[in-house]
Each structure stands twice: as structure tokens, then as C-alpha cells.
């Protein structure tokens, strides 16, 4: 009888320990999956930020303007710019377009103007022929030409032949209390015209952004005057999951991701 009880207790405790171990591992893997997927998504969006593209650089808030697509003017008229963009209009996520920017041909700096895509989008009819008349090769890329209007009013200058334009999105990433689980933090993404949506939850309060400047060191905040000095953004991903059973500490893990901004220099 005693021996049987002992065996039952042993078996039960083994199963309990197994269950707890398995549950904690699954939670940890889940937290890492979440965070890694979110940082990958974030990295792909941040990596191509252009010069003058960082708007806010704080420890828990990051706002960037990143290119959705670049276009170049292949025929310039007073209030009509006929442009080429890779993939054409169908490749543009028009809902996310926060505005249009023009590149200064001398300094390479961008002048940004916030506007919806609809406010400057023109008719595509005949755009190919307009550009072909200035030497564009439209074979195989017939649908990649279209017309933008009202750009002088938006940009303060009339785009010239060969000027490079950028349709950009303006995205704000924040680390704040998760709406899915209020005991932890979440990573939120907000585009210019939309409300914030939660990309991932399960972050610890120590999760934050850091920025490398020309000094070579990472700091939590960069002031507005020095935003152009940032060349790497670091996401410190500390995750926290409440323990599956009581009497056990929360499950934590963490790593950091450095996203080099290739186009800001």
C-alpha cells in the first residue's frame, strides 16, 4: 500500500513537472515567435528609410517615413508629371501612402509633403506615350507609367525631367501596454491615416528603441535637431510571459536587433 502510494506520488509529480516544463517552453517559444516576427516586419520597413526620414526617435516611440516606391519624372509639364515607378500603380499600397517627396538633385535631400494618394493621382491614360516621347523604353513595362498632378502646390516646386520622387508611408512604432494582455507590453504600429494596431505582445517594460549616431554609441533618445545623425536603430526585445502556474517566476527572454539604415548617408 505504502509502496503503491509512493509510486503514484512519484508518477504524479513527474507529470506535473513535465507539464510545467512543457508549458513554460511553449510560452517562451511563443513569446520569441511573436517578438521575432514583429521585429522582422519592423526591420523590413525601417531598413530603407531615406535621408530626413526619421521624425521621432524616443525610447518607446519611433516615427519614420519609409519609401513605398520611388518614381522618376519622364515628362514634366506645368501641373502634370508623368512618371515611371517599378511595378506601376498596382504595386503601390495606396491606402498607406502618407505623402510624396522630391529629391534635391544637388544635395540629395528629400522634401516631404503629406498628402493622400488620391489628392495627386492622375489618369494613367497616355502616360506611356508621353514618356516614350522623351526616350523611355516602354516595352515590357507599359503599365509602369502614370500621371501625378498638383505636385507644384504640394512640393513647392515643379518637378523637372529626371527628378526622383518618393511615395512614402509614415509609420509610428510604439511600445505600450498590450491590449491583448494588459499585464505585459506590446509593440504597436500606426500608419499615417489609420489607428494603431498591435503587432506583438508579451514584451517586458524594458523593451525599447535605441539609436546609434555618428558618435558610434547607442542612446535612448535623439533630439529633433540630430535626427539626421542616426544610422542604426536598435530594437531591444525583452519578452515576459506570466508563469503558467503560481509560485513560479515569470518567463523572460530577450535579445536585440540592429537595423542599419542603408540610405541615410
Amino acid at each position: 500500500m505504502l509502496l503503491s502510494s509512493l509510486v503514484i506520488v512519484l508518477v504524479a509529480s513527474t507529470f506535473l513537472v513535465q507539464n510545467r516544463y512543457y508549458a513554460s517552453q511553449v510560452l517562451q517559444a511563443g513569446a520569441q515567435d511573436n517578438a521575432r516576427a514583429a521585429t522582422e516586419l519592423m526591420a523590413s520597413e525601417i531598413r530603407s528609410v531615406m535621408l530626413d526620414g526619421i521624425i521621432v526617435a524616443g525610447p518607446r516611440t519611433l516615427t519614420v517615413r519609409s519609401p513605398i516606391v520611388l518614381a522618376t519624372v519622364c515628362q514634366a509639364l506645368a501641373n502634370q508629371s508623368f512618371v515611371h515607378s517599378p511595378g506601376g500603380q498596382s504595386a503601390i499600397d495606396t491606402v498607406e501612402v502618407a505623402g510624396i517627396a522630391i529629391r534635391d538633385t544637388i544635395s540629395g535631400a528629400w522634401t516631404y509633403a503629406q498628402a493622400s494618394f488620391a489628392s495627386f493621382n492622375g489618369s494613367d491614360a497616355g502616360a506611356q506615350n508621353r514618356c516614350a516621347s522623351t526616350g523611355a523604353d516602354t516595352v515590357g513595362s507599359y503599365n509602369e507609367f502614370h500621371e501625378f498632378g498638383s505636385l507644384p502646390a504640394l512640393l513647392g516646386t515643379t518637378p523637372a525631367l529626371g527628378d526622383v520622387l518618393m511615395l512614402f508611408r509614415e509609420t509610428t512604432f510604439t511600445v505600450q501596454t498590450s491590449t491583448m494582455d494588459t499585464t505585459v507590453q506590446g509593440l504597436f504600429r500606426k500608419t499615417f491615416w489609420s489607428t494603431a494596431t498591435e503587432l506583438a505582445s508579451g514584451f517586458d517594460t524594458s523593451a525599447r528603441f535605441q539609436y546609434r549616431t555618428s558618435a558610434g554609441t547607442y542612446v535612448d533618445t535623439v533630439t529633433t535637431a540630430n535626427l539626421d545623425d542616426i544610422d542604426v536603430i536598435r530594437m531591444i526585445v525583452d519578452t515576459r510571459k506570466p508563469a503558467p502556474t503560481g509560485g513560479v517566476e515569470d518567463i523572460t527572454s530577450g535579445w536585440s536587433v540592429n537595423i542599419a539604415l542603408r540610405n541615410v548617408r
Binding site: 515567435d33 531615406m50 516606391v69 514618356c131 522623351t134 525631367l161 540610405n263
Partner: protein
């Protein structure tokens, strides 16, 4: 009273059960561990392949632009690292008579040979300027040497002409505006015929010359930079009459009638020529021998390496400005340059 043998059998059954239980526990732990590690491995691998694909795409783009000379090709692929970059170009407009705008796209795919997964693909694009005729027509002869002395001798009657000998019948743009005949650093000594508009000019220093011609001499003279013909002349008879190829001689080279031809001639070392040598097009030279013969119907730019062997260059051949030959050779010299801040990931 039970026999002792039966008691031992019951204890043996307990141990067996316990061992099976422990084996089960170990199996569960191992399976859990494998699950975690496997997931982590897959995610890391995908993230790594994704980054590599971007790097391969960018490398392909940069390599294409760096190696491009002459007519811009439609597409080319490079094997880089574990991936392949396919670079394609589209001509978008002629910004002016000398510069075209191109869209250059590089699509990279990185595959993992150990899995059946589809290759990771990333694409980057950029805008580029195609400098169609990069060498400006400053002078028929431009040498970064203290003095150019145009003289006649028993072996040759020295002449340098900046008046265009081509006509519109030769090519569109022929009969161009006259240019300076000769440019040196200190003096152009006109002991024989020098005729241009003006006849000669004195430029401040080597740097002024180098900057003004706006050529990528460091690239052109690099043995790793691919050109059409290396250290040998092509069989010009086998080439179309309007073909002006790029020929590069590495090091010093002496030219005679066996080298007669046309095109863009690059001499990375010292250029020297005998009376029988005839060339149509452009000659770019690291340095120029103190005495040169031969006839050049086009342009000569010498002393690109700054150092010349003597304090002056004696010119004893006929040097004539043929704008049509220069145009044609200049097209072979054309190159792409990326528009700064225009590289982006194509979504």
C-alpha cells in the same frame, strides 16, 4: 508464507515500470527541447536568408553599375554568395543630350540546398544616370605636363589642330565648334603648326585637369575592370565599321603600324608612338613619352597618373580633332552612376 522468488519478481516489475516512466519523461523533455530548438533554428535561418537576399540584391546592383561601360545591357545575372542576382535595366528618359535616366533593378534569390523550401527573394531598385559621352571636348591634346612642344623634324611634321576635321556628312554633330588645340601646365611651344580656338591653354595643375575631364581613371586603369580587349588589338576587319571598341594595354606600350585602329585606347602606363602609328578615336594614357610620333584623329588625354618622364612632351606627329571619332569612342566610355539616395527595396 510466500516463496522468496515471487517477492523478487514483484520488485522487478516496479523497477521496470519506474524505468519506463523515466524514459517517457526523458522523451517528453527531449521532444519539447527539439520543438523549441527547431522553431528557433527555422526562424533564425529564415531571418538570415532574408538579410542575405537583400545583401545579394544590393551587391548585384552595385556590381552592375560599377562594371558597366559602353552600351547599357538589358539584363545580367551574377552568382554572389549563396544567391543569384538578376539585374535588369529600363531606359526612362533622356535628361539632356549627354545624359539618360535609367531604372536599375536587382532581384536576388537565395536558396537553401538542404530544404525543399522556395528560395528567399528580395528585390532592390535604384535610378541611375547614364553618362553617354563623359569626356568633354576640352582640347585635341591635353597633357598634364609642364610643356608641350609641337615641332617638326626629319621624322615627322608636328601638328595639333582643334578645328573639327569631321563634317555633317560623317556623322550627325560633325563639323562641331572648334576647340583648343593643346593644353599643358606651363607652356605650349608652337614651333610648328598649332591651330585651334584658341591655339593653346595653360591649366593650373594636374588636379584641375583631372577634375575637368571627369573620367573614372582609377576604375578604367584597374586590371580587374573588364574591357573588350586587353593587351592586344582586335581584328578591326572583323568588326563593323562603326564599332569603336575599348582596348586597354596594361603598363608601358610602344605603338607602331601594327597597332593601327580605332576606338578608345587606354594605356595604363606610358604611351609612346612611332611615325607609322595611326589612331581614330580617343587615347587615354597614364603618362606620355617625352617624344611622340604618330597620327591621332580624335583626342589625346595624357598624364592621368600625374607623373611624366620628362619636363616636356615633343609632339612630332599629326594630331587632328575629328569630332565624329571622338563621339563614337566616347560612347564606348559611357558609364552609369547611381542617383544618390535612390536605392530602395521594391515591395
Amino acid at each position: 508464507m510466500m516463496p522468496a522468488q515471487n517477492t523478487t519478481q514483484r520488485e522487478g516489475g516496479f523497477v521496470l515500470g519506474f524505468v519506463i516512466l523515466m524514459l517517457f519523461a526523458i522523451s517528453v523533455m527531449s521532444a519539447t527541447g527539439y520543438l523549441v530548438v527547431s522553431n528557433e533554428f527555422s526562424m533564425s535561418k529564415h531571418a538570415s536568408e532574408s538579410s542575405e537576399a537583400v545583401a545579394v540584391a544590393r551587391a548585384g546592383l552595385e556590381r552592375f553599375v560599377a562594371e558597366q561601360i559602353g552600351v547599357v545591357g538589358d539584363s545580367v545575372s551574377y552568382a554572389i554568395g549563396d544567391g543569384i542576382a538578376l539585374v535588369t535595366t529600363t531606359r526612362l528618359s533622356a535628361r539632356d543630350s549627354l545624359t539618360d535616366v535609367y531604372y536599375v533593378q536587382s532581384e536576388a534569390s537565395v536558396s537553401d540546398v538542404f530544404t525543399t523550401n522556395a528560395p528567399t527573394q528580395r528585390t532592390v531598385g535604384a535610378y541611375a544616370l547614364h553618362h553617354r559621352r563623359p569626356l568633354a571636348h576640352h582640347a585635341q591634346m591635353l597633357i598634364s605636363e609642364r610643356e608641350i612642344e609641337v615641332e617638326s623634324s626629319f621624322w615627322g611634321y608636328g601638328q595639333v589642330h582643334g578645328i573639327d576635321s569631321s563634317t555633317v556628312a560623317d556623322c550627325p554633330g560633325g563639323g562641331a565648334t572648334s576647340i583648343t588645340a593643346a593644353i599643358a601646365l606651363n607652356q605650349v611651344d608652337e614651333r610648328s603648326l598649332v591651330n585651334g580656338a584658341p591655339d593653346s591653354e595653360i591649366w593650373a595643375n594636374y588636379q584641375a585637369m583631372y577634375d575637368s575631364i571627369a573620367l573614372r581613371w582609377d576604375v578604367l586603369q584597374d586590371p580587374d575592370f573588364p574591357v573588350e580587349f586587353e593587351d592586344q588589338m582586335p581584328n578591326f576587319a572583323a568588326l563593323p565599321a562603326d564599332s569603336f571598341p575599348v582596348i586597354r594595354y596594361n603598363g608601358n606600350q610602344y605603338f607602331s603600324n601594327s597597332h593601327d585602329g580605332r576606338g578608345l585606347l587606354i594605356v595604363t602606363g606610358e604611351y609612346d608612338a612611332w611615325t607609322s602609328f595611326d589612331w581614330e578615336g580617343i587615347i587615354l594614357a597614364g603618362s606620355v613619352d617625352y617624344r611622340i610620333y604618330g597620327d591621332i584623329r580624335g583626342m589625346l588625354v595624357g598624364g592621368l597618373d600625374r607623373a611624366n618622364p620628362g619636363s616636356k612632351v615633343e609632339v612630332r606627329g599629326g594630331n587632328f580633332y575629328y569630332s565624329c571619332n571622338v563621339y563614337a569612342a566616347n560612347e564606348s566610355l559611357s558609364y552609369l552612376s547611381l542617383i544618390e539616395n535612390s536605392v530602395f527595396e521594391v515591395n
